[in-house]
């Protein structure tokens, strides 16, 4: 497992197609009063395949809008967004999204929820069964393969929702505050599950919006800070993986945390 440094990063950027690339992307909204609001202001960045990005920043500053544009739910007012070389026009399975709200189908079992995307794309039954079995094992819910979502706790449902998205092997994974409201004990479990899934999926690019600095330090290779719709900070997280408590409370980690907090209070 290599940790990308600045020089390898640049080399990889030149040789491989970026997983996500934004160039001067802006988004304006017209309010009911007729006023124009600049939600995102000329943001540019590149995310490589295999990078885990956490996006952090104050509420209402454009993080979710950015994510929704990459997902294809909103068109940018100006600028271009490409994912794996193709421009983004509408949502699709190449950009898997884990939503903040619960989108599990209550009338389907856990297994049926996970395989739903595969079934929709015509993947044959035995292949689906294998994929689902592997995912269930990774998320630790083999015993709940035939349970209804209503029989599961909130944290377990999150695991199923994430597995359902990973099942489709998306090029990039977009997550909008997926772990809000999960208690602290379960959070560690869920982080581990996410990282395991990420590992097994050959570490596809992840673009995750979060409020939680600790979560960002645990998961991310790079942290973006979005303030007032602009990319205020693009910070590499050079902590070794797997990141245990010691690693995210080390002096190096605290230095990164201090940097982030400073950025917020500016």
């Amino acid at each position: 497992m290599t940790i990308t440094t600045s020089s390898t990063h640049t080399r990889q950027a030149l040789t491989r197609t970026a997983a996500i690339e934004l160039r001067n992307v802006s988004k304006q909204f017209r309010l009911e009063s007729g006023e124009l609001v600049n939600s995102v202001n000329s943001v540019s960045f590149t995310v490589d395949p295999g990078e885990f990005i956490c996006v952090i920043g104050p509420s209402g500053h454009g993080k979710s809008t950015l994510l929704n544009m990459i997902a294809g739910f909103l068109p940018p007012t100006s600028g271009t967004i490409t994912v794996s070389g193709s421009p983004v026009t509408r949502p699709g399975p190449d950009r898997g999204v884990v939503f903040q709200r619960d989108t599990l189908f209550l009338w389907k079992t856990v297994s049926q929820n996970i395989e739903f995307g595969l079934k929709a794309r015509g993947v044959p039954k035995d292949q689906r069964k294998t994929i689902v079995a592997e995912l269930l094992q990774t998320i630790g819910l083999e015993k709940f393969a035939n349970a209804w979502p209503k029989q599961l706790s909130g944290g377990m449902r999150r695991r199923v929702a994430i597995a359902a998205v990973f099942a489709n092997k998306p090029e990039v994974l977009l997550m909008d505050e997926p772990f809000v409201g999960i208690d602290y004990l379960r959070l560690g479990q869920l982080h581990q599950v996410l990282l395991d899934l990420w590992q097994e999926a050959e570490k596809r690019a992840v673009f995750m919006v979060t409020h939680d600095i600790d979560e960002a330090l645990t998961l991310a290779d790079r942290i973006f800070v979005i303030k007032h719709g602009t990319l205020a900070l693009d910070m590499k997280v050079d902590l070794p993986r797997p990141r245990r408590t010691e690693d995210i409370t080390s002096p190096q980690a605290n230095e990164l945390r201090r940097h982030l907090l400073q950025e917020f209070s500016r």
Partner: protein, 262 residues
């Protein structure tokens, strides 16, 4: 734990029925049999007329008794609800998922929702004479309207909840409608079917009162015209019992169908 939860409810129900019976007995003791017949006389009326009700052969040329007429009414209500359900479900789904249908159909169907159901009866009688359709047409209409309205709003809610996720899976609109919106509609549809059936008994019976040749409503009319109040009340009670049983069955079936619901 379930028995403990049932206990007070059942006890309360029994007390309630006894209380009503007590009030009724008081009323019947202080009034004529024509206005408030005693409870025993109501029972007698039901039993005497169960297989065949002589009153019918005097006033109409119909046959049958309380039981056969109740069955007739019941089957019309259930067929009417089933028909209305199919029409209403298709309409509601089309309103929610097909853009031009929504634009053109929204207002007429909203207006239909404010029409007093009984206003339809003259048309049904003129068009369909004395056939069953002229009586259960009211049930069909009411069920179709309420199901369509519920299905439309539930489909819209399901769209808000699931449409984005479905888009990220690359699903077509039709696929989304079939595999996602449709199952999501089941809980609210079952609820509205139950409610429509409850109203349906009333609409079916009043249609029979006003012009039917058969059915519980006709029987009620015949008893009332001959001032046999006990008989009229008896039929109402029998219909009530059948209605409560049907409602319980629909409830049970519904709970099983959506057993995955939270």
């Amino acid at each position: 734990m379930r028995i403990r939860a049932f206990g007070p409810a059942v006890a309360g129900g029994i007390v309630g029925v006894l209380a009503i019976a007590a009030v009724w007995t008081m009323l019947s003791a202080t009034n004529t049999a024509a206005r408030f017949p005693s409870i025993p006389s109501i029972f007698d009326a039901i039993v005497d007329n169960f297989q065949s009700a002589p009153i019918l052969s005097y006033s109409t040329f119909g046959t049958g008794g309380v039981w056969s007429n109740t069955l007739w009414t019941a089957q019309n209500v259930l067929i009417g609800v089933a028909t209305g359900l199919v029409i209403g479900f298709a309409t509601g789904l089309a309103l929610a998922r097909i853009e031009w249908f929504h634009r053109l159909g929204r207002l007429p169907i909203a207006i239909l929702g404010t029409v007093p159901v009984l206003a339809l009866l003259p048309f049904l009688t003129l068009w369909f004479g004395n056939s069953a359709l002229s009586t259960n047409g009211l049930v069909i209409f009411f069920t179709a309207i309420t199901v369509a309205s519920t299905v439309q709003s539930s489909a819209a809610a399901a769209e808000v909840k699931y449409a984005d996720y479905a888009a990220t899976l690359g699903l077509s609109t039709n696929r989304t409608t079939g595999s996602i919106i449709l199952p999501a509609l089941l809980p609210s549809t079952i609820g509205v079917v139950r409610a429509a059936t409850a109203f349906g008994w009333g609409f079916q019976c009043i249609a029979e009162v006003m012009g039917g040749s058969q059915g519980a409503g006709r029987l009620i009319r015949s008893f009332s015209d001959a001032t046999q109040t006990a008989g009229a009340i008896g039929v109402l009670i029998v219909i009530g019992i059948v209605a409560v049983l049907c409602d319980a069955l629909i409830g049970l079936a519904g709970r099983w169908i959506v057993r995955w619901n939270e």
